[in-house]
């Protein structure tokens, strides 16, 4: 870029030198640290989002493709882009899916533990107000350890601050004979990890997300209905209002991402009311019968 002496002189005169104490930028080129994320949550009440899934399930790809959608459309679903303090960190994650990376097919480099952090989005909700989202981008190795018995709290000391838990099920595995059962079992382990008291706050929301859903054949879809019902039952033991999403962030048919609209609308919704969940009619009936017998 520096072409000749005058340019070199210009560069030298503008060289940043050693960063000074006050040289603080509002944005970050890397994912935000836990402390940086805390400063946002304390001031603006951001919504902290954790995608739960083992290595290679597609958590970072979902985040990167969401960023690409926002760049290309300015909106996801009814939620409009209002800014980001980590635009360049998103760019790093999205870069290897772009033609200028030189690759012939898109990849998402594996997230390393030392790169764990939070990506920030500011969204305008349909009602007109803004929502700050802090999307945890963490290595799936944490969830392998959870599967092996570690507590979520051991892996993430900020777990009680999470407002949205999206438990990810890898559709590619669901569609692959021999891997399907393992994938479902692993997802169920993550759901169990959410069940201990105090992990999921009463205001937090939980959802099940099938990613790479475009990998499923018609036959797979027929079977998946029951799988989803069973997993949802476990999810709803933690959040009775939990939805299930089916996404294809980077479809194999080269089409646009699918299913992200619903995910973002859910992320941007209000938290659950802190009141106890409304009980189903049959439970109320049982209680009424119990009182009658007393």
């Amino acid at each position: 870029m520096v072409g000749d002496d005058s340019d070199a002189q210009a560069q030298e005169d503008l060289s940043p030198g050693e960063p000074e104490e006050e040289d603080q930028l509002f944005t970050s080129e890397a994912a935000l640290s836990t402390d940086e994320a805390r400063s946002i949550t304390s001031r603006r009440g951001a919504t902290v989002v954790l995608l739960l899934g083992e290595v290679g399930t597609g958590k970072t790809t979902l985040l990167a493709e969401s960023w690409e959608l926002l760049l290309n459309r300015g909106v996801i679903g009814r939620c409009r882009f209002a800014g980001s303090r980590t635009a360049l960190a998103f760019e790093e994650r999205a870069y290897y899916s772009r033609i200028e990376s030189g690759l012939r097919a898109p990849v998402t480099p594996r997230t390393q533990e030392q790169d764990d952090g939070f990506l920030h989005l500011r969204m305008r909700r349909p009602a007109g107000d803004r929502k700050e989202l802090l999307l945890a981008d963490v290595t799936g190795e944490h969830f392998e350890r959870v599967r092996e018995g570690a507590q979520l709290r051991q892996e993430f000391d900020w777990i009680d601050r999470v407002d949205r838990f999206l438990v990810v099920l890898d559709g590619q595995c669901v569609a692959t004979p021999g891997e399907r059962e393992v994938a479902i079992t692993r997802t169920r382990r993550l759901l169990y990890a959410l069940q201990p008291s105090g992990v999921v706050a009463s205001s937090a929301r939980v959802a099940l997300g099938l990613v790479k859903s475009d990998a499923l054949s018609d036959e797979d879809w027929t079977d998946y209905g029951d799988v989803e019902d069973n997993l949802l039952r476990d999810v709803r033991s933690v959040d009775p209002e939990a939805p299930a999403f089916r996404t294809a962030a980077r479809p194999q048919d080269s089409g646009p991402p699918r299913g992200l609209d619903d995910v973002f609308e859910w992320l941007c919704e209000d938290d659950r009311s802190s009141k106890p969940p409304q009980l189903q009619g049959d439970v109320l009936l049982q209680r009424a019968i119990g009182r009658f017998h007393q």
Binding site: M1, G3, D4, S6, D7, Q9, A10, Q11, D13, L14, P16, P19, D23, L25, F26, T27, E29, E68, L70, L71, N72, R73, G74, V75, R80, F81, A82, G83, S84, R85, A87, L88, F90, E91, E92, A94, Y95, Y96, S97, R98, I99, E100, S101, G102, L103, R104, A105, P106, V107, P109, R110, R124, R130, R250, P251, D253, S254, G255
Partner: protein, 331 residues
């Protein structure tokens, strides 16, 4: 602290600031243009004169001709509105590039922002780095293979997410240089290892992402976040977004700068419009030379800068080329 209204004129390198200043300077000197007059210049006045003459002579201003070592402060009188200061931390755009790419507040840009009540941000229609996915490119090529007979020697055009040809417009050429992204076989600090997406048993070493490779939209999102945060006490800040080289999009069929921004940089437009408590934004298109150089030089040269330089508001209505400044100052 000046009692005059002050705005900061900013943009990344090669976004048309120097050509705009040259054209503005010619207008200021033009006695037939009553809308804007010179009051004072702090900085290298001869350089301003040089830029004005380059525009008057229909000559492109090269990057090495842009003086970066000194900022500039112009005091101008705007007919019916009053006097105001136009503060330029550097004409080259290096201070904003340094902010985004090397993550540093240059003292000069900090100083300008301390005084400025409003901002004029330049984006070049000619220098966009648009994110274009491999998947989409592969999809288009696959479709082309299916629909174009093999014997046909024509190369089917690849289209961008917005439907415009990629590689056929100078607007989008900045992001598609294949030489910049060669897969490297050797280990290097600047490479990253990934799984080969076309061969699951192999690993690839590819060049690492660098901030200068970021999309234009992401760079402006990052810059705006920092600029607005630095002016938090003065929200909402008026921000005029100037699409320079506006004759280029017009030749592609765009009539409204606002529409162009919506199609080319929708995230920047969205950010600008949904944060009403932080910023008030208007989009303008400016062609400071009046047409493409050197192609149209013979047609443009006989005309004065006042006659050929033109600007549009967001809806495509003709406005004086100093209107982005006037709006940013007085609304």
């Amino acid at each position: 602290v000046s009692s005059l209204r002050t705005l900061a004129l900013l943009g990344l390198p090669k976004t048309g600031k120097s050509t705009y200043l040259g054209a503005l300077w010619q207008l200021v000197q033009d006695t037939n243009e009553p809308g804007v007059v010179e009051r004072d210049v702090t900085g290298d006045r001869s350089h301003l004169q040089f830029l004005g003459e380059k525009v008057a002579l229909c000559e492109e201003i090269g990057r090495t001709e842009v003086e970066s070592t000194e900022g500039m402060l112009l005091t101008l009188g705007f007919d019916e509105f009053g006097d105001a200061e136009i503060s330029i931390p550097d004409i080259s755009g290096e201070t904003l590039r340094v902010l985004v790419e090397t993550r540093h507040w240059h003292p000069r840009i900090e100083s300008v922002l301390t005084e400025a009540e409003s901002l004029v941000i330049f984006i070049s229609a000619d220098q966009l780095r648009v994110p274009f996915s491999i998947s989409m490119a592969n999809g288009v090529l696959e479709e082309a293979r299916r629909t174009v007979p093999a014997s046909n020697g024509d190369t089917p055009g690849v289209r961008s997410p917005s439907g415009d040809p990629v590689g056929t417009s100078s607007e989008e050429s900045a992001g598609t240089d294949p030489d910049e992204a060669t897969v490297l076989p050797e280990e290097d600090d600047d490479t990253i290892e990934v799984q080969d997406p076309t061969n699951l048993t192999a690993r690839l070493k590819i060049p690492k992402f660098k901030v200068e490779k970021a999309s234009t939209a992401a760079k402006y999102v990052d810059a705006l976040e920092n600029l607005l945060a630095s002016r938090r006490a003065h929200w909402p800040v008026r921000v005029a977004i100037v699409v320079s080289a506006w004759d280029t999009p017009e030749r592609s069929g765009f009539r409204k700068p606002g529409e162009w921004l919506r199609k080319r940089l929708p995230s920047v437009l969205s950010m600008s419009t949904v944060n009403g408590d932080m910023m008030e934004t208007r989009v303008f298109g400016v062609s400071a030379q009046g047409g493409p150089l050197p192609e149209k030089k013979a047609d443009l040269l006989p005309l004065s800068v006042r006659e050929r330089a033109f600007a549009r508001d967001g809806d495509g209505n003709g406005v004086p080329i100093f209107e982005p400044l006037r709006w940013a100052l007085w609304g």
